[in-house]
Amino acid sequence: MEQSLNTEQPIINVITPPLWLVAELTYSCPLHCPFCSNPLDFAGEKAELSTTEWIRVLQEARALGAVQLGFSGGEPLMRKDLELLVAEGHRLGYYTNLITSGAGLNEVRIRALKDAGLDHIQLSFQDSTREMNDFLSSARTFDLKRRVAQLIKSHDFPMVMNCVIHRLNIDHADRIIDLAAEIGAEYLELANTQYYGWALRNRDHLIPSRDQLRRAEATVAAKRAALGTRLKILFVVPDYFEGRPKRCMNGWATTILCVNPAGTALPCQAARMLPDMSFPSVRAVSVRDIWYESEAFKRFRGESWMPALCRQCPERGVDYGGCRCQAYLLTGNVNATDPVCDKSPDHGIVLAAIEAGERAPLKPLLFRSPENSRMIMGGLATLE
């Protein structure tokens, strides 16, 4: 699932408490999006946390100061105890967000979620038409999503519509915006694909061309002017095209705590595949000790880990040297400057990826599924 963050927080050198808890309840999902940010080997993950274990995590993170709680996945509605966990989150004083594809949301469950105190629902669409939406999720979900949007409105939840944007749907930005306005969303996130997990595997299919991006930016500007305050549109140009990295997760282990379905605690959802890191499990370690004491969470806090290029750079307080996952996935070196930075000696890798995106892809699009995940784990993913 895609997440976004909108906190205002100054840069300081003391360890700040986590403000956001991302609870990835399950990797189970009836959709098969080829841009999914879940790990490629998700099918090999250990048993999911129990209800009691999740409740303890919610309590411990709230005690540290976490106040935003995102239920994510996979598809969080696949967990039968979602309502219970929302109720506990609400009781503890969290602002509770459900991040869903819509699959599994019906009248009975949405009523129960309202009663449990759920604050907001983010509903994803893959595109603006049935044909493309259903192709991209590799499941017949468009009509279902439209019905779910009506349910969300009739139960008076604030609604964010999320659409992951890439080469195959970016030219439909105008119709995607119209759809968001039509279903009554208060916010629309046109979330440019971030290249981790399945999205990285499929990057040659997904990366937009420079022309496409320019057109989409113009479309968004025109629609913003036309719609005014009715719909707030979030659209951020992907970092590949900007020459500067994003300030990933607001800084490593400064704001966000992710807990994956099996209880592994991570400073970001993509970080599990980083080498030579041992991420603590909430089954064995308290959330307080994970946040303040664990080596994994300390590893990239502050500046001391940075390569010389970043340590001497006046912009290091802006982007913290970029994303560790992206640095590792693209250069093989987890301590490198994020190669989307045009000062990086490895920036050519990113330029080559943009160029490759202008040509026809060599490999077929690989949809996210347990079968494909097991195939990749078995080293059989040589579909070239």
Partner: protein
């Protein structure tokens, strides 16, 4: 249309998409909304926590002047609430 505090009897309240709460860990009031949060400074928190849709602005000003043992806060409160209305944090009900 955003209703403005054009009339002394209008009563401000926290807008539907926002929730105001005191956060012990941050020692501050915060405004919570879908996937986001704004940490408020002391005076913003004191004004907003009085915006419950029942007090007209004049009453809020009077309360603040008592609390802070001062006078002449009308202009400050009004300009803060105008900005907060533009940001969508505050809505107004007519008297």
């Amino acid at each position: 249309m955003i209703e403005q505090p054009d009339n002394a009897g209008s009563r401000p309240r926290i807008a539907r998409l926002y929730r105001l709460q005191w956060e012990e860990a941050q020692q501050a009031h915060v405004l919570l909304f879908p996937e986001g949060m704004i940490k408020l400074n002391g005076s913003a928190g004191e004004i907003l926590r009085r915006c419950n849709g029942e007090r007209p602005m004049a009453v809020i000003v009077a309360e603040l002047e008592v609390t802070f043992a001062t006078t002449g806060l009308t202009a400050d409160v009004e300009s803060f609430l105008t900005a907060a209305t533009e940001k969508g944090w505050v809505e107004w009900s007519s008297p």
